[in-house]
């Protein structure tokens, strides 16, 4: 299959991406390009030749059910999944060897894996987390898969709060040490049960994806193009009751570290010492709480009240 390259530019995590048009998805903002921003554009090229024969020595892990193989080096990353080979030559350049895979599959892995790898090379931190603006402050919601991050943050969105990112959040450190969060993809993905709980009709989904043989419904959402300061981290976990407690010491470290995509997989971080220093700063500089929720999903309003009240107390401090 040959792919044509109609070059357009996309904005995602406040990065300019120059690549084939079909890499776009309906919810992404597309604008005329400008290189006046702080970051150089990320240029994506499709290489129709056979992929280089790379021996992936490092351990494989699953990315949305599909094995993903990594070779990390200090300045470039190679990764392969479903016979698609991403050669990330440097922090500005991605070569995709698509094999026989269709654009939808390539696009999926590009946004899920290749782009995050570039952002890591660019010195940022990508986390498995959602972010919401509450009382003019941005909070990051972390937690295990299935803990209820997307359900709760979608509920907040439905209540009028601005969703900054869903599933994956991208942070950088400013020169003065402030932790900055960049807007993520403008999409929410939910299982039907969660759609029903938060009041998003599944017929409004613009597409569906399969995860572990279950269907997730994807909704396009308005978001922001602004980079914001991160005000706090909220760990959501299932418990026996609804409660809010301070998250500190080793549990804070462990919870945040486990949420960072690169650090959840040993040996998959280029320049890990430098990344670790940044991560340590993030953990030390950002207050964190644990939001325990009972198995009963009908406590979303109660959880919302707890978080709003926490945010108001933080403002008064």
């Amino acid at each position: 299959m040959r792919y044509t390259e109609k070059m357009i530019r996309h904005y995602y995590y406040n990065q300019t991406i120059v690549g084939p048009k079909w890499l776009n998805t309906p919810f992404l903002q597309t604008k005329n390009a400008t290189t006046s921003g702080a970051s150089a554009p990320i240029t994506v090229s499709i290489i129709n030749d056979p992929a280089p024969n790379i021996n992936f020595k490092q351990q494989a892990f699953s990315a949305g059910n599909k094995p993903l193989y990594f070779n990390n080096h200090l300045d470039h990353i190679q990764l392969q999944t479903e016979d698609i080979f991403f050669d990330i030559l440097d922090k500005n350049t991605i070569h995709i060897y698509p094999g026989a895979k269709p654009p939808e599959t390539i696009t999926h892995h590009f946004w899920q894996s290749a782009l995050l790898a570039v952002l890591t090379l660019r010195g940022g931190i990508s986390l498995h987390a959602n972010a919401v603006r509450i009382n003019h402050k941005v909070y990051l919601f972390i937690g295990d898969s299935g803990a209820g991050k997307s359900t709760f943050t979608s509920y907040l969105y439905q209540q009028g709060y601005q969703l900054i990112s869903d599933d994956c959040s991208f942070l950088t450190l400013a020169s003065d040490g402030q932790v900055l969060i960049h807007p993520g993809k403008q999409e929410i993905r939910l299982y039907q049960e969660s759609c029903d709980l938060v009041g998003l009709p599944i017929q409004d989904a613009y597409r569906t994806v399969k995860k572990l043989d279950q269907i997730k419904y994807c909704f396009a959402i308005p978001s922001t193009t602004e980079t914001s300061q991160l005000s706090g981290i909220i760990l959501i976990k299932k418990g026996k009751k609804t409660a809010l407690t301070t998250l500190k010491d080793i549990e804070k470290f462990q919870s945040i570290l486990n949420s960072v995509f690169a650090f959840s997989q040993p040996n998959h971080v280029p320049n890990p010492t430098e990344q670790f220093k940044k991560l340590t700063h993030l953990i030390q500089a950002t207050p964190a709480i644990t939001l325990e929720r009972s198995a009963d999903q009908n406590t979303l309003e109660e959880l919302k009240d707890l978080v709003i009240s926490y945010s108001q107390k933080e403002i008064k401090k």
């Binding site: 080793i250 462990q254 040993p266 040996n267 010492t273």
Partner: protein, 93 residues
């Protein structure tokens, strides 16, 4: 036989609230250490030889070497097993 311990350069330590965490960049694993563990970890930088280390810690904690030696040895063995330090042996003359 004299034993010298070397902290691995791939291990970084950091303080989070009241805890100290040692993180191994190679393995991506981390360990929380208490105040005494931190004191030993820090002492290893200037007192890498086991005899010196024991002398220094005995003075610091106002204890007999024979009293602290088993605990320090057990801790150093743990650090070795977790890949946080390496050891070299030299014949004493």
């Amino acid at each position: 036989m004299s034993t010298t311990y070397h902290k691995k350069s791939s291990v970084v330590s950091t303080e989070i609230d009241n805890a100290t965490v040692l993180y191994t960049v190679e393995k991506g694993s981390y360990f929380s250490i208490n105040e005494t563990g931190l004191a030993i970890w820090e002492a290893l930088s200037n007192h890498p030889k086991k005899d010196d280390l024991l002398n220094y810690l005995a003075q610091k904690f106002n204890a007999n070497i024979t009293e602290i030696e088993p605990d320090i040895t057990a801790y150093l063995t743990e650090l070795l097993q977790q890949g946080l330090i390496t050891e070299t042996h030299e014949a004493t003359t």
